[in-house]
Symmetry: D4
Subunit: 170 residues, 8 copies
Amino acid sequence: MSPTSTPSRPKVAVVYGSASDAATMSKAGATLGRFGVEFEEAVLSAHRAPRTLADWVDGLRDRGVAVVIAGAGLAAALPGTVAALTTLPVIGVPISGGALDGMDSLLAIAQMPPGVAVATVGLNNATNAAVLAVQILAVSDPDLAAKLATYKDDFEKAAADGLARAGASA
Amino acid sequence: MSPTSTPSRPKVAVVYGSASDAATMSKAGATLGRFGVEFEEAVLSAHRAPRTLADWVDGLRDRGVAVVIAGAGLAAALPGTVAALTTLPVIGVPISGGALDGMDSLLAIAQMPPGVAVATVGLNNATNAAVLAVQILAVSDPDLAAKLATYKDDFEKAAADGLARAGASA
Amino acid sequence: MSPTSTPSRPKVAVVYGSASDAATMSKAGATLGRFGVEFEEAVLSAHRAPRTLADWVDGLRDRGVAVVIAGAGLAAALPGTVAALTTLPVIGVPISGGALDGMDSLLAIAQMPPGVAVATVGLNNATNAAVLAVQILAVSDPDLAAKLATYKDDFEKAAADGLARAGASA
Amino acid sequence: MSPTSTPSRPKVAVVYGSASDAATMSKAGATLGRFGVEFEEAVLSAHRAPRTLADWVDGLRDRGVAVVIAGAGLAAALPGTVAALTTLPVIGVPISGGALDGMDSLLAIAQMPPGVAVATVGLNNATNAAVLAVQILAVSDPDLAAKLATYKDDFEKAAADGLARAGASA
Amino acid sequence: MSPTSTPSRPKVAVVYGSASDAATMSKAGATLGRFGVEFEEAVLSAHRAPRTLADWVDGLRDRGVAVVIAGAGLAAALPGTVAALTTLPVIGVPISGGALDGMDSLLAIAQMPPGVAVATVGLNNATNAAVLAVQILAVSDPDLAAKLATYKDDFEKAAADGLARAGASA
Amino acid sequence: MSPTSTPSRPKVAVVYGSASDAATMSKAGATLGRFGVEFEEAVLSAHRAPRTLADWVDGLRDRGVAVVIAGAGLAAALPGTVAALTTLPVIGVPISGGALDGMDSLLAIAQMPPGVAVATVGLNNATNAAVLAVQILAVSDPDLAAKLATYKDDFEKAAADGLARAGASA
Amino acid sequence: MSPTSTPSRPKVAVVYGSASDAATMSKAGATLGRFGVEFEEAVLSAHRAPRTLADWVDGLRDRGVAVVIAGAGLAAALPGTVAALTTLPVIGVPISGGALDGMDSLLAIAQMPPGVAVATVGLNNATNAAVLAVQILAVSDPDLAAKLATYKDDFEKAAADGLARAGASA
Amino acid sequence: MSPTSTPSRPKVAVVYGSASDAATMSKAGATLGRFGVEFEEAVLSAHRAPRTLADWVDGLRDRGVAVVIAGAGLAAALPGTVAALTTLPVIGVPISGGALDGMDSLLAIAQMPPGVAVATVGLNNATNAAVLAVQILAVSDPDLAAKLATYKDDFEKAAADGLARAGASA
């Protein structure tokens, strides 16, 4: 955790509470990679390893992390616990693994008390957590902002192309 | 936090996340007092004061605390955070202060991951948190066990008396 | 109720409402066994066999039981019915077998009236019911308390090792 | 259990878990009275006074009771507990007193396991519990059946009159 | 539908809204058969065939029906519609076929307005609908009442036997 | 109900289940009036007055009604019952009067079986029921279509004016 | 998009937010086809392609569309966005694809603000969206009205035939 | 909307769907002001004024806006609609004004489709929306980052002071 490894450009940390969340959370990494944003990844439960987690959070700025993405299921304390321990923006991904289809994790992540915020995305939507992280970095990074504009334009083009094809075949 | 202050008899700690929870949580103290169980009380938010909370938890055993009662609303991380940091039994009281009538706090407290448990009671039911704390202490305290037996008998007597009066007036 | 059959060390009773709950509830026994805590197990429905259940509860103390773990689904009256009939601490495990994914059993177990408490754990989380039972027994059993401390430390070590391995492979 | 105290006509027992339910449950008595059906009333909590409740249930047939109406809030075990202890038809009235607006009591009363049934009516709808009790008694009582037919006809007449008046004033 | 086929003993009508409900509702017939209670069965949607349903309801008393069991899913209007058209007791079975796991049908059946009652049982619990129908008929039929007492005793015996076997093998 | 009173232009019928719904449903009339659309109004419960309701529905076309707006609370069968009895488009307004805040009425109105549709609007949103009725009539009425375009433009203008005023005062 | 392609008879547009909704939404086309109503179909996300969607909506009237059916899952903004941009009646089909079983899409479609209405049908019930569209067109199309009457009669006949067969086999 | 008014430092835009949301959303401005962050405020409904809203969004970058806070109730399309039209980070505040206590707005804001993200905060929690906006701006603004550190430290100090006072008075 020496500061010598600090990259020249801010990066994202992706953390989740259980190895069983890895598949869902891999969508975050895939989207970050698409935008050329570096990230580190860790498996850390707020409830089972609170002290290891606190140490990991303490080192975030030294490792050049500017935004944290935290995914968790059930009581889903991870995003809020990280947000309590850092001033970096924290994006929370509720995961729907238990009997209640994720309603528990959605509420546990979104309903933070005034003063400590988590940017909550939809259930299992690690893709959007990454999009949001890119948008946050793009506030001070014109290259990323341009990539985001292209990303959005591509959606419009794909939709317009779909309409054209459907019209042609009609 | 020197061990010299350890009382001869185990006591209960009552903690809650916000001063606005005090009225609801005062029912815990009232019931503990009825059973002659000592307790300490603290206002500590898991999200707003995580480091102060961790220090407070670290001193629990030195202060002679054997059971923790933790009440919180909204994302309600307090009971789980305390349970993550101690091996003492932790009783969680979900509080219904926000827009969702407490469904958020109930799920955030009950749906802990395997390995770190919180003994959840009903919404705003600080009375039952105290009853549970007394039952836990009574496992190794015959006096408390006898008081609990009387407490239960009194409910039956009151009900039987009510029936008798209703019959008499019929 | 003669004390002659009392074992030297308090034990746990695990009871559930239907044979179909056995697989879920077996996690309680597995965790109790890991801590060397003895337990007895019974299948008893509060609604289908109320009188047999009442007799079983009456014998708990004679059989050396100090804590009860009760699991049930649907209207899930079992934990509350046991709690109504004994002063021992009762831990309730809501089970998600029916159409409503266990929301019915969670509420039926947690929302007890003031005066009669059930220590509710998460849906299907019989592991945590056992952890809680061990924590309760550990209040007066330093050996169990030491085992719990090790149990918690192992979680931290596993998390820290995972981080180290991830860092090494990076 | 001698039959000597049996009244000439079957009656209804109205029971509820707390004195705070009395206002809601009084609608049952009002409707039973309108149909000339006798009833007795008791306040008995399944969780706080299980033994007094069991005695009360044991005496129901001797007191000439043919149908039980049981109202409760929160975990709402009363209707199911009564149904577990008698073969008489039991009608359950979920009451919406707690933080969850009665969803807890509705599920706790309706979601009984196969073999032990409760006839659940809507939240706080003690009127319909009484209507149902009258319908049950009317199966073998032509007088009550005739009164029910009139009760229904009156609804139709009131509606038709309302339409006529609205038309006249148009 | 001539009145000549009226049986000497009251019977039960089982109706449901869709052929896809047949498997769930067959549990009602199985339980009625176990008690020797005759029943007729019909598939009739309140929404798709309201006039055919009204005719069917009009003939219920002529066909000797004393109790109706009505099962439906989704908006589940069938039980309430039948209850609106007859003074016979109507038992509603909510069926969990759609996306919302039956919460829609449970509320649509239970939440009737004052004056028109449906005796709601748990989701898919056609067995309990039949038990309730038998309990209703047993109010004026001592043979059925005796069978119900045996039915309940058998549950207790099975539970006690299970305990004994478990104790023997311990 | 003679056909001589048929107006030259189609009108809307507004019906609701209880006089207590009148205030909520009056918003429908206010909006219809704003668009110059004639309407009739009736209070008719599907559960309490099913035969009077059926007669009323039978006369709708003769009275020149082209669209029905039906509001109801609780089990809220009214919109679906009307839709079952007519081929006219039926718009349902769920009303939030009971303990469950209208979730019951929303589901009871929206979750119709395939083949019999109700156009459901938001809770208590009788205004939108009227807007929808006007939109339906406007399909074949260019005057109404023009009024709807103005109605929408007015919203945009008000919003733009608000922005302009805020900018001017900044 | 030239107005020369305007058909002589109004048609329906079916639009949905994602290709994964195609199977569910195909039921709309099947039902429209059964009634001989022409329709066009498009895949357009309100969130991913808002400008392409706005252009598509702008051309609806020119293409002879009189009613729009819009299906979407999750936050389900599509129906409301279309309704915001046109004065044509818009029918919304909530689709249950995500973790919450469609409760999110149902509320997002139904709970529109006063002034902009969506005619919401049940979850995944694209059939009913088509029935509603036909009912809307039938207000000014006697042929369609006659077909709808036959459609309804066929339901009654099928139900009556089912009863007759069941009676014959009894 | 000329670019000449662009401030030297990025600012925040606060927008909400209805004037009735102003009190709730004013907490965002209060918190932004505390951190010395400039902001503009607008009332714009996504459903009632979609074209005015689109124009407003088009001008955001020219006006120097770097982050948008959007609050809405009911179907709550505003945050998602803004996110669909810009690449700036959008923070959504669900508002609990209607019958469903805000569950509708929470889901409508959080459950966005992959590719278009909204950073959702808790119900009515405009304070946290502002905290999140400050955290986003602080990624590239060391002054703001320092203020955030102080903001967090103040929470810890207040909690520690509270503990000390409680201890002193004990």
